[in-house]
């Protein structure tokens, strides 16, 4: 039987062929909690008398959303995660280590895995060829304790990508364009499988950016085949042994296929307050911005910071525009320091923070004022997202965000790139 990537991965876990629509109870390979969702998961496990981790080496508790803690309530929540990790042998990712999704792809997720995370952007690990999906605290808590979860095998929306990115256009622009095209519920309950010549040519960071935002189209996960690019990435992480090749079968059944030609794309932004509210950066040009935020699990990797630095090098932010840069993880932070990027950012007038979720989740580190406008490289621009329902968030690539910091207003970044 010809299978999609999702059917293939789930089928391998339950030991038989599965088809979209089936309900299965499946083993879980990696389970993750973060400091916003973890405490509730642990409360639920206490209620069930199940304070344990079935597979502690692949149970990871991340302190990233409010790191370092800005309030005592959150400090206490962090204590509960540390206590569970100490008691069960689960892995604790401390405040210096970074955003869960970046840490998961660096060190934990592998091709063919089933990964569940109590964070909606857990789909990021799908870029490695893992069936990776976000669930609530209780679902993930039960997954941690029992090593199992239940899933409906999803139908798959195939995105076939061709062409090459024109200068100044990136994976982020493609993903915003795609979500604008199919809508914020265009892939609800489905897996998105990214295929085609451009998918094969894409680097891992580009693949992470696409899969990270699969949930913004309503999808359960985003998936890439595991290929040579995946193998090299895992080798760079010292995890070459975790690689295995994985591809969908010829003749697999897709719910729908969407084709995208990268050549035709332009720098793209999402206007407030929904991700599918997209337009070109040129069309939004002239919108004043009070704050620019570069970082997050979507675009806080070293490749993103290099693009931002290329724009910002030797220049200075607009006097009325604040600029905050947050590397996604400790290893990204170190690399950016080694390459001198942090100096470029600080000289350009940026506030560089330690790794983590930073300002994206509205808890600390850059909460917007009433009526203020931010352009950010994150994945979500919902009303209230950055801590203030009276503020406005635009989404963009690192190049567009950096260029907008220089101009003090949204601009097409191409005039700032050499």
């Amino acid at each position: 039987m010809a299978s999609t990537l999702a059917e293939k991965i789930i089928g391998a876990h339950v030991g038989r062929d599965v088809k979209s629509g089936e309900i299965v109870v499946t083993p879980v390979d990696v389970a993750a909690l973060q400091d916003g969702t973890g405490p509730l998961a642990l409360t639920q496990l206490e209620e069930l008398g199940l304070i344990r981790a079935h597979n502690p080496e692949k149970t990871v508790l991340f302190i990233d959303h409010a790191a370092p803690s800005p309030r005592k309530e959150l400090s206490n929540a962090h204590m509960s995660l540390r206590k569970f990790a100490a008691g069960t042998g689960a892995v604790l990712s401390e405040i210096d280590e970074g955003v869960c999704h970046q840490r998961l792809v660096e060190s934990f997720a592998s091709p063919g895995d089933i990964l569940i995370g109590a964070d909606s952007h857990s789909c990021t690990s799908g870029a490695l060829g893992a069936f990776a999906t976000g669930m609530g605290s209780t679902d993930v808590g039960i997954g941690i304790a029992t090593g199992k979860t239940w899933l409906k095998v999803p139908a798959t929306l195939r995105v076939t990508m061709s062409g090459e990115f024109p200068p100044g256009v990136y994976a982020k622009d493609l993903m915003l364009h795609l979500i604008g095209l199919i809508g914020a519920d265009g892939a609800t309950y489905m897996a998105i499988e990214f295929t085609g010549p451009l998918a094969q040519a894409m680097s891992m960071p580009e693949r992470f950016t696409l899969c990270n935002m699969a949930v913004e189209a309503g999808a359960k996960t985003g998936l890439f085949a595991a290929d040579e690019t995946t193998r090299k990435y895992l080798e760079q992480q010292g995890r070459g042994g975790d690689y295995r090749e994985l591809a969908a079968d010829e003749g697999a059944q897709y719910e729908r296929t969407v084709e995208i030609d990268a050549q035709a794309l332009e720098p793209t932004v999402s206007a407030p307050h929904t991700v599918d509210n997209t337009m070109t950066a040129a069309a939004a040009a002239g919108t004043k911005v009070n704050q620019v935020y570069i970082g997050t699990c979507t675009n806080g990797r070293i490749e993103d910071l290099r693009i931002a630095a290329e724009v910002l090098r030797g220049r200075r932010r607009h006097p009325d525009t604040r600029l905050i840069v947050t590397p996604a993880s400790r290893s990204v932070y170190l690399k950016a320091a080694e390459e001198g990027l942090l100096t470029v950012f600080v000289e350009a007038g940026a506030t560089v923070t330690g790794p983590g979720c930073g300002a994206c989740v509205g808890v600390h580190g850059g909460i917007l004022g009433d009526g203020e406008i931010c352009i950010a490289t994150q994945n979500r621009n919902f009303q209230g997202r950055m801590g203030n329902a009276e503020a406005f968030i635009w989404l963009a690539s690192p190049a567009t965000a950096a260029a907008s910091a220089l101009a003090g207003e949204i601009v097409d970044p191409r005039e700032y790139l050499s």
Binding site: R71, E73, S120, T138, D185, V361, G384
Partner: protein
């Protein structure tokens, strides 16, 4: 079981940030307090003025966004009987069933603010008493009926000691 209450109307794309705003992140370990802010960024008067038993009635893609289970938990904790929407986001839908909050998909366009509703969970209908209109809702998938019937996933686990869904 027949659930009775008044309709509170919300629009399309009500996100988990509307339901449980990030600025109350520190209240996630204090659900009764967090529930005082439920849906605050979509309607600041809702939490203070809604009556236990009322319904949240919305448009498309209700609950999109984050995986925070706190969102359906505080809707339930506030006393909302059920959420009625044109469609739901996936994680919110699953979380709602897990915590025992009925989430019903139907054409909500004929329901207005303050309408008196009667929801018959067994018959699968929503009767708008104010307008004398009855609309059927999409039956829940059998796996969801099972979990909801057990009182949520924790109760399901307590009952069977394992998943009993296939």
């Amino acid at each position: 079981m027949i659930l009775k209450g008044k309709a509170w109307i919300f629009g399309d794309s009500i996100s988990t940030d509307h339901i449980a705003p990030g600025r109350y992140f520190h209240l996630r370990t204090n659900l009764p307090e967090l529930a005082r802010h439920v849906l605050e960024d979509a309607n600041p008067d809702f939490a203070a003025q809604m009556q236990p038993g009322d319904f949240v009635v919305a448009g498309r893609n209700f609950g999109l966004g984050s995986s925070r289970e706190h969102a359906p938990r505080i809707i339930k904790l506030a006393g909302v009987n059920a959420v009625l929407a044109q469609s739901f986001a996936r994680i919110f839908f699953r979380n709602s069933i897990n915590v025992g909050l009925p989430v019903l998909e139907l054409d909500t366009s004929s329901i207005s603010q303050g309408d008196e509703l009667e929801v018959d969970l067994e018959a699968g209908t929503v009767r708008n008493v104010t307008r004398d209109i009855t609309v059927a809702f999409q039956p829940l998938p059998p796996v969801m009926v099972k979990i909801l019937g057990d009182g949520g996933i924790v109760e399901h686990f307590r009952k069977y000691g394992d998943f009993n869904l296939e």
